[in-house]
């Protein structure tokens, strides 16, 4: 099962969809289903054998571009495709062919970011994802969405420039784009240029990864986008980006300087996000701020992952939890209420999941993260995390209280698919799957 299919299929389908307009959505659905199957197969392969390296076009690295599918990327690829499928069902008839095309592009892009082992490809996929997402955000075609899309686009393009510069700096020194190649020879780089490139990459990817203060676009974009798109953003591009940060930070630059930097950024992002969410009246805006907070949490986990194995596990759990819960909440936010049993279920389960109650995935995420923190003797981080957790509890309690039981207007398919999406967090929390996966070697990096 060749991982490149995961990118190739959606790209191809995306380009042939315009040929048959009205069948577009169904074709896209098929493609997504196929992709999901492949990703699950890939996941099982990685689960059994460990990291998979695939070389494209027959050149050996460092010349040839290649795909490196490690445990985390396999998991994320599966999550992204699976959730994309469910989410697409949830969006249902709202999608016409242009939308489906963009959707597929975004999915393909974020999958690519996850599974590529080559920073230039990473940049390319970033571009694909970003452009698709701008268009998707704008796809509601009203003033709000336009505003959001434009802000997103401005910052996104700014970010991609920085990424490009960062990559260029590295290439200028090492004449290589392969992550592992770079990682092995990073020490030979000239220090100043190395740090410059790190800064560039962090900034550039940080824009997509919603870390403070690069996430100015987030509230407006999420508020502008329709529920389906917002949920796609929350489990697709943003997760891919945060994964990219994880990969670059953990593989290329696992250094103490970076460690403290990333940790600080994470904590600040967490606090800012949660606090800003507390006052929000608009649901989508509140959820947007809340996802900023969650991103902060994941960033903290990444930082700690540089010398704590538990933190790596935390990254896994947190990503899954946030992906499923936040995506379903965004889908829910389209209509002002939880009337039927399915939507009530969705609302409650996803809130419990995102606040991190056992046995949801979020709990394990918090658990392992705090374990790592206490091993690293960082009481202050723990206290801050708890504080933000209480704030989170406060505004989610308010959210539940406000929207529980109101009438809503969802098609049955939408309701059930969002319920399934919410349940994912519970499933992944109960199964020892992710745990096992996390224990597998993660890019064979130092410190773990």
């Amino acid at each position: 099962m060749h991982p490149v299919l995961l990118i190739a299929i959606p790209l191809l389908v995306a380009f042939i969809i315009p040929l048959f307009k009205k069948y577009g959505p169904s074709i896209a659905l098929g493609a997504l289903a196929l992709n999901t199957g492949i990703s699950i197969a890939l996941f099982s392969v990685v689960y059994s054998t460990g990291t998979v390296h695939e070389i494209i076009a027959g050149f050996a690295p460092p010349i040839g571009i290649f795909l490196a599918v490690d445990s985390l990327s396999a998991l994320l690829a599966m999550i992204i495709n699976l959730f994309a499928l469910i989410n697409f069902m949830a969006i249902g008839k709202a999608s016409e062919y242009k939308f489906s095309m963009l959707y597929l592009l975004a999915v393909a892009g974020s999958t690519g970011i996850v599974i590529t082992g080559d920073i230039f490809n990473m940049f390319v996929f970033f571009e694909i994802t970003a452009v698709a997402s701008y268009a998707l955000v704008a796809s509601r075609k009203d003033k709000k969405s336009m505003e959001g899309a434009i802000k997103y686009m401005i910052l996104g393009s700014l970010g991609s420039i920085f990424i490009l510069i960062g990559i260029a700096l590295i290439y200028s020194q090492l004449k290589s784009l392969n992550i592992y190649d770079i990682a092995s020879r990073i020490s030979t780089m000239d220090a100043k240029i190395k740090w410059a490139s790190v800064a560039m990459l962090l900034t550039g990817i940080g824009v997509e990864a919603e870390i403070f203060p690069l996430n100015g676009w987030v509230p407006d974009a999420y508020q502008g986008a329709s529920g389906g798109v917002a949920s796609l953003l929350s489990f697709g591009p943003s997760k891919a980006a945060i994964y990219a940060i994880a990969r670059i930070m953990l593989v290329i630059f696992p250094l103490q300087k970076v460690y403290y930097l990333v940790l600080t950024i994470g904590v600040i992002t967490l606090l800012i996000g949660e606090l800003a969410a507390l006052k929000q009246e608009n649901v989508k805006r509140m959820l947007a701020y809340s996802s900023i907070g969650q991103m902060g949490l994941i960033t903290i986990a990444i930082a700690m992952g540089m010398n704590e194995k538990n933190a790596i596990l935390a990254i896994f759990f947190l990503m899954v939890s946030h992906a499923s819960s936040k995506a379903s909440l965004f889908l829910l936010s389209d209509s002002s209420g939880m009337g039927s049993a399915a939507t009530k279920y969705t609302g409650i389960v996803s809130v419990l999941g995102i606040v991190g109650m056992p046995p949801f995935a979020g709990f394990w995420g918090k658990w392992y993260l705090l374990m790592a923190a206490i091993n690293g003797n960082m009481l202050w981080v723990i206290v801050l995390i708890f504080f933000s957790g209480i704030v989170e509890a406060a505004y989610f309690a308010r959210y539940l209280h406000r929207y529980y039981g109101n009438e809503e207007s969802f098609s049955r398919l939408t309701k059930y698919s969002m319920a399934v999406l919410a349940t994912m967090s519970l499933i992944f929390g109960l199964l020892p799957l992710i745990y096992e996966m996390g224990l597998k070697t993660l890019f064979g990096m130092g410190g773990v």
Binding site: L261, K279, P359, F363
Partner: protein
Amino acid sequence: MLDIILAEILVAAIITFFVGRKLAAIIAMAVSILPLIALLDWASLYGFNIIHLGIEKSISIPIAGVSLNLAITPLGWFFALMIIPLFPAIMLFSYSFYKKNDGFYPFMLLALLSSIGIIMAKDMLTFFLFWEMMSWSSFLLVYRSRDKEAVMSYFIFSSLSAFLIFLGILIIYQQNASLLLSSINIESNAYGVVAIISLIAGFAIKSVLMPLHAWAPYVYSKSDEPFVAFLAGGLSKLGYYGMFLILFILAGAKVLETYFTNLSPNYILAVFGALSAFIATLIAFMQDDMRKLLAYSSIGQLGYIAIGFGIGTPLAVSGALFQAFNHAFFKAVLFLAAGAVAYRTGKWKISELGGVGYRMPFTFMATLFAIFTLAAIPITSGFAAKWLLYESAIDAKYIFVAPIMLIAGVGAFLYSFRILYGVFLGENRYPNIKEAPKSMVAAMFILVMPLLIFLIFPGYMLDMMHDALISGNIATLNHNAFVIETSLASYNTIAVIVALMIALIPAILIYKTRKHRVVDFMDNYLAGELPELYDNKISMHAASRFYKPIEEIIGPYFEPGTMSYYMAIYRGLKAISDAVRKIYTGKAGDYAIYVTLFLLIIMGWFIWM
């Protein structure tokens, strides 16, 4: 056996989610009886002394990389006998209480599951996991009340308690790299003390100890009574289970003493308990809502347990456990009775009720007995518990705690009579209501039974808690079935009972020899006034603001109430959040500037490092 039971409960919880009302009730009842049977079976096999058995029934369930270890420990055994019997009765009660199955039974069964998990947990992770399950399943039950204050305060406070406990557990983990209760010993340094205090605070939130009680009045007074019966009877005891675990089994009390050499920290816990007993009692008899009154009375009665744990002598702790046991049952009965009254009359305000007891005699009897136990009328088991606590306070020479807890005991009479008179006696305002349905009455009387047993044999209760005390390194009192001996005095139930029998003789003689005539309620001395002239419309019920004179004196001292302070904190947070929100100006230009600034800053960081 245990794991099978847990699995059955889980399955039943899922089933009851879908089936109809009656079937759900029956399934829930059947399933909730199972663990009780298991416990009694265990008792019949080995007697009450598990610890001498040497073996622990333990199982482990793998989940997400960790395994949940459950075992029946002596302490867990005692608390199981206290908490698990509540569930069948509550299910029985709710059989006719609910008109439709809207998610009461599944969540209640989840609560049962998690409470079994909590009291049988063998390591802190398991404990915490089930604790959290308890939190959210009970949150969902609170949630059915749709009351803003109740929902929000419960959610926020329980997450606060969760985080405090979590913090404590983490520190403990860091100190001994293991979470098995058997292998934990808390070091006596700043970290360890922080752990203990945060754990106790976390538990104190659930077992409504002032000033962390603020959520209780809202939640208790707005949720359905069957659930509140569990909340007041069971959940609060789980909090004290945790406290016992930390203070005695993990020897937290000793750690605190060795750390704070000069000021004795346990005294502080005792003082908190005494204050919450005293203040809550004073607030209680100023309430007009029956459920709010009962809520404050719970806060007061639970305060006694904290006093016992604080004093920490064998006397005190056995008194506290005794009190916990009694409270579990009589408070459940009282809340169920409130539910029954509301079921018939649809009213909770005492000023709107009155004379219900004439028409609902059995409900009244159950309530009366529960209230006797609450007010610690002698030879009820309530008195034995309070007596032990008083003795311990005198024995330890706690001159601040002792008078306060005694006067709180007197105050209990006041709010007890508020209920008895305002709701059940006085003017016959509901002449044509019926007695509560049989299932409800049955439930109440089932819960009264244990109190009756320990009324005559307080010694058996001490036998029951013997192993728990031993496992907490606490000596046990010398006693037999009837007599409890302490260094200060002794309490002999059989003497009291015999004396009572003898003392009843003249009363009965007078009562029997002189015949009496029962007259109509309206044939009443009203200074010669004639009710029938006003078609009996004269209000003869002095129930609204019953304790007005004393209310006007002490009322102002309890304004504006604890919740307002918490609300002030909440508003402060909102203000901060408003300030933070302003960072996102909404102008793309500013954001671009942020990005560049960020870049420069981290570059600066790298150069500086």
